[in-house]
């Protein structure tokens, strides 16, 4: 059975890729890379980057770039790789500004360190927020290399050009490799990054081109190191029995049987967390053992008496009724234009609908895991974290040491979707490592991961529209109720008006009377952000409701959507009826709300999917569009009914306008992934509570979309643009579920206002 095929060496194979790979991206998460703690830290010139040892020869003008005298360029990726392909994107941008040849570039993964600026890999921000800063990091190094070459040749720097890993003189006769210039460049003062000249877009050689996934070889041969793949000598593995209900605590426990399991070393009670929970550990009882299985068996043998606390009666069925009651009464006004009440009262026809989406878990394929070692007043952590600086803060807080004394190494993340930006699992490892006096890996079982999540908010939306005698929409009222993420950090019990920027207050509507309100929704579990966050339920309700209005009026859903969007224009805060609006942290000058861009993605996606023949041959199309994280995305889903009468999504089209993109194939893969992620939400996603505890446990009773449910084809079109970059990781998700629900209505006549769809209709 171990018969081998013709051997194709990695090298010969990779030469066929667009980028030759000379050690590129390989091995940096391998065991030897972990061991390669900079040996030359003591003495020598201080390095400009924590990723490059002090005293290392060559040019290190900033935290992100090192040019070695042998020509090898190292580029630091300071954001976490969790499947979005950031390591195949940001470093390419830096290399392009530098003029480096990717064949001679290796990518280093940054530890947590403030010198990199914000490292929180969240909010689809890793390109959009720092595009120019990253370019400046590369351009600074380039400027210094060019200065040295110009000096040697006694010519003006303007007459020199950096490309293909060398500086060339305009005469075409002289060139010097980056390596030959590095040591001398290191002696120059580092120019102000703001003063360096950025290349015109056309000179960025790889940006927007056919870039491969640089980590692909490590992914396919099993060498990529994820959180649970790091091991330290003398390490113990911990499994924790956490309180089943948030706010619960241990009354008493008997560890006798657990301690009798071979391999179990210790049983330790963790302190119960205090409100607000933020990123505190969850409390409970930890079993520390020589290996994972012993820890699992030991945990199963624990006898614990719990007190369930204030959330012991949390029940999803009852809570749903409470949310419905909440949105049937006026809430706090978050947006107001005209007089909605008057317009509704005077309307020829009023259409109203309520939409419900339950709690959702993150369920990354890699369950939470963290390894910590505490040594005196220092600490070292290896973890699949989206936010290594928060991990430093949390660990420092537990150990009462400054955050910079905590070294946080970021492994590959086996999926994250927002869950791994919370440091609770790291807090557990740090606390237990100190307690045990040994390195501790806290391993979460799948059941733990599913039952102790920072859940996506359960939500209810109530939309009301007034139509005049001609069917024109003259009033639009949107009430939203969901336990806000703020409840994890403070005593908030309803969404703030600011929370509605995700799809409610930033929604362009050519309607004269508009009001949005937030309604009461206290939290009974830890609430957190899940990929695309509040946009999920706001996009679902708004896009479903537009489809309902089109049906009520007897017009095409696309035409009504474009009518409600209004003519191409930049929408002002006054038009939206808000005094202020957070634009995902970016300025409106750079990133205006542009209905023209939204119209274009709707028009393109309906053209590609042949919307005009949207219902034929036993299939129907559904449309949805949504702007989030500064990008515009439109989705058409095709739904069919199989021989057994079950519904399936057989094809999907996505058009996204995200401004400038670095790596189009990673953008496409994010959109493909968004369709599957959105399908899981639409078809199966539900976490429900009974007696305060989560009812689901594993992938048996919580379903994710599998390959047999996946569409035959997912078509992705990226709008050509040289505008400022928007987000990519999240914006594809929100339109997916409503596009499916709208297609289901078109095919079956059944309007589903509650997810998952499988509660109402048979699905594949």
């Amino acid at each position: 059975m171990t018969q081998r095929l013709q051997k194709i060496s990695r090298r010969s194979f990779l030469e066929g890729l667009n980028l030759a790979v000379g050690g590129l991206a390989l091995g940096l998460f391998s065991a030897d890379a972990l061991a390669a703690e900079p040996a030359a830290r003591k003495g020598g010139k201080k390095s400009g980057s924590p990723a490059i040892a002090d005293g290392t020869p060559g040019l290190t003008p900033n935290a992100f770039v090192h040019v070695a005298p042998d020509g090898r360029v190292s580029i630091v990726c300071h954001r976490s790789e969790m499947g979005q392909g950031i390591r195949s994107s940001l470093p390419v941008l830096i290399a392009d500004e530098l003029g480096a040849d990717m064949a001679h570039v290796r990518i280093l993964q940054a530890d947590g360190d403030k010198v990199y600026g914000d490292q929180n890999t969240d909010g689809s921000s890793s390109v959009r927020g720092i595009y120019d800063d990253m370019r400046r990091a590369g351009a600074t190094a380039r400027t210094m290399l060019v200065a040295v070459a110009a000096k040697r040749w006694k010519v003006k720097p303007e007459d020199c050009e950096a490309r293909n890993h060398a500086v060339f003189h305009r005469d075409g006769k002289r060139s010097l490799g980056f390596g030959e210039l590095a040591n001398e460049a290191a002696k120059l003062p580092v120019p102000d990054p703001k003063s360096v000249k950025l290349r015109p877009r056309t000179e960025l050689k790889n940006v927007g081109g056919p870039l491969p996934l640089l980590d692909a070889p490590a992914y396919v041969n099993g060498s990529a190191v994820f959180g649970a793949d790091v091991t330290l000598p003398g390490m113990l593995v911990a499994m924790i029995a956490r309180p089943p209900v948030v706010g619960g605590r241990v009354v008493k426990f008997d560890a006798t049987k657990a301690l009798a399991v071979p391999g179990v070393k210790r049983v330790v009670e963790l302190p119960a967390p205090q409100k607000p929970y933020i990123y505190q550990q969850w409390g409970g009882v930890a079993v520390l053992a020589e290996n994972t299985w012993a820890a699992m068996k030991g945990r199963a043998a624990l006898d614990i008496t719990w007190e369930h606390g204030e959330n012991a009666s949390y029940d999803s069925k009852q809570y749903r009724e409470a949310l419905a009651a909440s949105v049937r009464a006026p809430g706090t006004v978050a947006r107001n234009v005209g007089d909605v009440d008057k317009a509704l009262a005077g309307a020829a026809r009023v259409v109203e609908a309520e939409y419900y989406i339950p709690h959702l878990p993150h369920s990354a394929m890699e369950p939470l895991v963290a390894l910590a070692r505490v040594d005196g007043d220092t600490c070292e952590v290896w973890a699949p974290t989206q936010n290594p600086q928060d991990a430093q803060e949390v660990a420092g807080g537990i150990l009462k040491i400054p955050p910079e004394k905590v070294k946080v190494h970021v492994t590959f993340l086996g999926g994250a979707f927002g869950r791994k930006s919370k440091a609770d699992f790291i807090a557990e490892a740090v606390w237990l490592a100190r307690e045990a006096g040994a390195p501790v890996r806290v391993q979460w079982a799948r059941e733990d991961d599913m039952r102790h999540d920072y859940y996506h908010s359960v939500s209810m939306q109530r939309l009301s529209a007034g139509l005049d005698a001609d069917g024109k929409v003259v009033a639009w009222r949107h009430r939203t109720a969901f336990p806000p993420i703020a409840s994890t950090f403070s005593p908030a019990s309803r969404p703030s008006p600011r929370d509605l920027k995700q799809g409610v207050t930033d929604l362009a509507l050519a309607v004269p009377n508009v009001r949005a309100e937030t309604c009461e929704a206290p939290a009974h579990v830890r609430i957190g952000w899940l990929r695309s966050v509040y946009n999920i339920f706001h996009a679902f309700s708004v896009n479903s409701f537009m489809d309902e209005l089109a049906h009520a009026r007897g017009v095409d859903s696309r035409d009504l959507r474009l009518e409600l969007l209004g003519p191409p224009r930049v929408v002002t805060l006054a038009e939206l009826g808000v005094r202020e609006l957070d634009n995902y942290g970016q300025s409106f000058e750079q990133h205006p709300i542009d209905t023209g861009r939204m119209r274009r993605v709707v028009e393109r996606v309906t053209a590609l999917s042949r919307w005009d023949s949207r219902k034929q041959d036993g299939r129907a199309l559904g449309l949805a569009a949504h702007k989030s994280f500064l990008s515009y995305a439109a989705v058409v889903a095709s739904v069919v009914k199989d021989a057994a009468g079950r519904l399936r999504v057989d094809e999907a089209w996505v058009v996204v306008d995200a401004g400038t993109v670095i790596n189009p194939d990673r953008v496409r893969s994010q959109m493909e992934g968004a369709v599957i992620f959105g399908m899981s939400i639409a078809l199966h996603g539900e976490i429900s509570m009974k007696d305060g505890a989560v009812e689901q446990s594993n992938f048996r009773d919580f379903k994710l979309v599998r390959i047999h449910e996946a569409p035959r084809k997912i078509h992705v079109e990226i709008v050509e643009s040289d505008g400022p970059p928007g987000g990519i990781g999240e914006p594809g998700v929100p339109p997916v579920a409503p596009a499916i629900a709208n297609a289901v209505f078109a095919l079956t006549g059944t309007r589903v206002r509650e997810l998952p769809l499988s509660r109402t209709l048979p699905v594949v």
């Binding site: 095929l5 499947g83 041969n221 394929m365 890699e366 999926g415 994710l704 599998r706």
Partner: protein, 160 residues
């Protein structure tokens, strides 16, 4: 504790372990073979998929006592120092997103292609539906399997 011997990636190995120890933890914790991933522990996600006598199986629900004397292959042993044609196809299609489930996906795909070098979408769905990918790489997984199958057919190579 009893010692269990089996052939792992072509080499005889021995582990001292309780008889109910799932092979996954023998591989990961005792032998340092980390390609097979822990994703569910109950045989429903496929992240640990490896081969037992050439067939796909789930080490997380296979007691180590049951593989004594048998050939076990993990992703690390699939192609020695090189890349298996299925791994090559995975790279050519840039399948992976986070990568975590991909060793298991690839092992499942190789097992499929050993039996069927010209799989239809339905064959692929049937063989691969026990492997979950949260990132949603399914469309590319299908493409990579078809690419590998096509290349193997054209080369006249049979997978055994």
């Amino acid at each position: 504790m009893p010692a269990y011997q089996f052939i792992l990636n072509g080499q005889t190995v021995s582990v001292d372990a309780p008889s109910d120890l799932p092979l996954l933890w023998a591989l990961r914790d005792l032998l340092g073979v980390t390609g097979p991933k822990y994703g569910c522990g109950v045989g429903v996600c496929g992240a640990c998929t490896s081969h037992l006598e050439g067939d796909a199986f789930r080490p997380c629900i296979q007691p180590v006592s049951g593989v004594a004397g048998a050939h076990v292959t993990t992703i690390e042993g699939l192609a020695g120092d090189g890349l298996h044609p299925v791994q090559q196809a995975w790279i050519a299609e840039d399948v992976a997103q986070c990568g975590f489930c991909q060793p298991g996906q690839i092992m499942a795909a190789v097992a499929l292609l050993r039996k069927n070098l010209d799989p239809t979408d339905a064959d692929i769905d049937a063989a691969m539906s026990d492997n979950v990918c949260r990132c949603g790489t399914y469309v590319r997984i299908r493409a990579a399997i078809k690419r590998a199958a096509r290349q193997l057919r054209e080369a006249g190579t049979e997978l055994r």
